[in-house]
């Protein structure tokens, strides 16, 4: 049973202000109930898919400065800092 508190907790985890958390209760619950069918799957193997890369195919440790001045494209202040509200 999904309650309003649960929705508010999830909204806090993903940092989204919900003016009406109740509106999400029914649908989230319905979908989670649908996900619960995964409990009844009979697995014959613990395998999961995943691609692999050999260590030697990884990027070489070379400094290559980015060809553009990226900060010019972002919301910067006059000293090229990004301003963020302080976390309390």
């Amino acid at each position: 049973m999904v309650e309003k508190k649960e929705i508010e907790h999830l909204a806090d985890l993903v940092k989204v202000d919900l003016s009406e958390p109740e509106k999400y209760i029914k649908q989230v619950e319905q979908i989670l109930n649908y996900f619960d069918r995964l409990d009844h799957v009979e697995f014959h193997s613990d395998d999961t898919l995943g691609i692999q890369i050999a260590k030697d195919d990884l990027r070489d440790d070379v400094h290559e400065p980015y060809a553009d001045s990226l900060i010019e494209h972002l919301k910067k202040d006059q000293n090229n800092f990004i301003r963020a509200p302080k976390m309390v």
Partner: protein, 468 residues
């Protein structure tokens, strides 16, 4: 019974580029947000590209700490929101679903105590926060992403330490180790950061964060032990919490915002495939590992007959042991080691001073040879060394400009001794009475000859004259 565990973050400062992009790994002394690209700032659509050498260097640290390196390593996302995290998650490693980090289950001996290493993981450093005004009053934090993405190795120990001193010794050993392997310069500002957790007896664990230097770590732990013990004595339960070290007041303070109790919702980082390291690779990395400090010390003692203390000091400093290796030949090894450990290390003991040294291996080799062939006394040698360090001039130049030369002929020495006898009647009388005080007169002769007089000859002649 005190139990202390450590979490150390060590930057891989010797890499050229960041962990997931080609921006420079060295971010110090850069103007704000000038060392960034779409990847390290998490611009939409950007993808991380793992640095091959970071994996190799982290593997070396794992090997040096006796850890197991898995054949395949993987990366995870640790999700939380903070102004210094451009993606609001950190790409790191995580072993809760299997040993996929670069190292686990290692150990190291510190003063006879075994410290177990729980795990070693590769992860990215966040950006840096600067506060507008004082950090208490201001509402704005200024973010600089130059450091975001810098490669870090996190080393987590089991709570095997029993005293703060053991911790300090361990940290010094670890610093020497990473410097010796060539992965990090641990004395750069911010290159090695330590968090500790500490509990007394059956009590709760307290985490201590934000400790600046190794010395402060020892102090903070001492304070915390005292704090916890006094609570226990008064029958008060020690709270399980996070505290930070207040440098100004030299105390630990309960943190207002807690990073613990956060739900990080770890999931695999799908943009980085599982990396196959493979046993061949690990063997190759083993062969590339530089000689360990322990092995080097043994080599110094066995091959060169260095006294244990000299070997200890020399082997634990990468800069000077490299210099030794380059400077000595078959005959002058002991003298070279002497020069370095007795004279040079005292002159240039900090990182900055080492970098400023104008002296080369040739200087030292020449100096050692000159002393061994009696062209210079050891005293003169000291002066010559100081001059060479400052000016970088060759030994020959320095010897002539400072008029340093070995005076060993009995005739010239006798003349100087006669001068001294004339000037120091009182001392002479005392020396005749008490032969042990002859060193004062030797000193005078040395000063008059600017250290050039051969000490053995001087002493011989002095004794003869005194006894006559």
């Amino acid at each position: 019974m005190t139990k202390i565990g450590l979490e150390i973050h060590c930057q891989l400062t010797k890499l050229a580029s960041k962990l997931f992009c080609s921006c420079k790994a060295e971010y110090r002394n850069t103007t704000p947000n000038s060392n960034i690209c779409p990847v390290c700032t998490g611009i939409p659509g950007s993808l991380p590209l793992l640095n091959k050498k970071a994996v190799e260097k982290a593997a070396m640290i794992s090997l040096a700490l006796g850890c197991t390196i898995p054949e395949k390593i993987g990366f995870f996302r640790k999700n939380y929101f903070y102004p210094d995290l451009p993606k609001n998650f950190q790409i790191t490693q995580y072993n809760a679903y299997g040993p996929t980090s670069i190292g686990s289950d290692g150990k190291i001996e510190i003063e006879g105590k075994t410290i177990r290493i729980r795990r070693i993981q590769l992860e990215e450093d966040p950006g840096r926060l600067v506060y507008e005004g004082t950090s208490e009053k201001t509402m704005i934090t200024l973010v600089d992403y130059n450091r975001a993405g810098t490669p870090l190795v996190e080393i987590v120990t089991e709570p095997d330490f029993e005293t703060p001193k053991q911790v300090r010794v361990f940290l010094n050993v670890l610093a020497d180790l990473v410097e010796n392997i060539g992965v990090s310069d641990p004395y750069l500002e911010g290159a090695m950061r330590v968090d500790g957790n500490i509990s007394e007896g059956d009590g709760n664990r307290v985490e201590i964060k934000n400790v600046g230097s190794f010395r402060d770590v020892e102090k903070a732990l001492h304070f915390e032990i005292t704090r916890q013990q006094s609570l226990v004595e008064r029958g008060i339960t020690v709270l399980a919490e996070t505290r930070h070290w207040d440098e100004a007041r030299r105390i630990t303070v309960s943190s207002r915002s807690k990073e613990d109790e956060q739900d990080y919702r770890y999931l695999p980082e799908a943009d980085i495939p599982i990396v196959l390291i493979g046993n061949d690779s690990i063997e190759q990395i083993k062969t590339q590992m530089p000689e360990s400090i322990v092995a080097r010390r043994e080599r110094y003692v066995k091959k060169y007959g260095m006294p244990a203390q000299v070997a200890d000091v020399l082997s634990s400093d990468r800069f000077y042991s490299d210099l030794f290796d380059k400077s000595h030949n078959e005959t002058n090894a002991k003298e070279v080691s002497n020069i370095i450990t007795t004279d040079l290390m005292g002159v240039a003991d900090t990182r900055e001073k080492k970098l400023e040294l104008k002296i080369t291996s040739k200087h030292i080799s020449d100096l050692a040879d000159a002393i061994m062939t009696n062209k210079l006394t050891r005293n003169s040698g000291k002066s010559a060394l100081h001059e060479m360090v400052k000016s970088g001039k060759s030994l020959a130049d320095v010897m002539s400009s400072l008029d340093l030369g070995h005076v060993s002929d009995a005739g010239s020495i006798e003349k100087v001794i006669d001068e001294v006898f004339a000037e120091e009647e009182k001392a002479v009388a005392e020396a005749k009475q008490n032969p042990d005080t002859v060193n004062y007169l030797v000193g005078k002769v040395m000063r008059k000859t600017k250290g050039k007089a051969d000490p053995a000859t001087t002493l011989e002649i002095l004794r003869k004259k005194l006894s006559s």
